[in-house]
Symmetry: C2
Subunit: 110 residues, 2 copies
């Protein structure tokens, strides 16, 4: 791997790559619709922290948020949008490039 | 992959995972010592942006910074510390888990 080749991190989009947002998108990719509490618990987040990152993802058009009632209980449903799926797929490809490059780096391969 | 399994993003450390810092560590892993300008150019950063992230990495003990003169020209040398190498190796393992999990996610595998 020569230093002249474009570094794989240049392919990464911070909106998607950020650790918690990447986690949210990963969870949503695995289930067609997922509640706020399910995502929060799986990623071990506070309500506030999850809300903050959901706002970024919603503004970028990557996640849809739908509030509804289940009986008398309010419930927040989250879905990955088509753009969200595309963005996650792009991140995945970039991460694979990065992993391949790092694995080819001698002192890390051991 | 069941939702009960720990999400791979929980293994990620934000100090290392952040896009630019991950890029810096990747470049430094590939060369025993690397100048400030070489890293800056390969990652297409401004001086200020690179300095800011180097400070975070230096404070975490992941990168060493050594200022010296090459003839009359001041030069900043950057090295990955032993802890930096360990942290990058850990990030790499976590990314591999994430990639494997995402590749197993049906709507993304196509």
């Amino acid at each position: 791997m020569t230093p002249d080749e474009a570094n794989p991190v240049l392919e990464l989009d911070e909106t998607v790559h950020q650790r918690i947002r990447l986690g949210i998108l990963t969870v949503l990719a695995e289930t067609p619709e997922c509640t706020f509490t399910a995502v929060r618990d799986q990623l071990q987040l506070s309500d506030g922290n999850l809300s903050r990152h959901l706002r970024v993802l919603e503004e970028a058009g990557l996640v849809g948020i739908r509030k509804a009632y289940e009986g008398r209980k309010p419930c927040t449903w989250l879905t990955l949008t088509r753009d969200g799926r595309t963005a996650l797929r792009r991140e995945l490809t970039a991460l694979e490039h990065l992993v391949t490059r790092l694995r080819a780096t001698d002192p890390l391969s051991g």
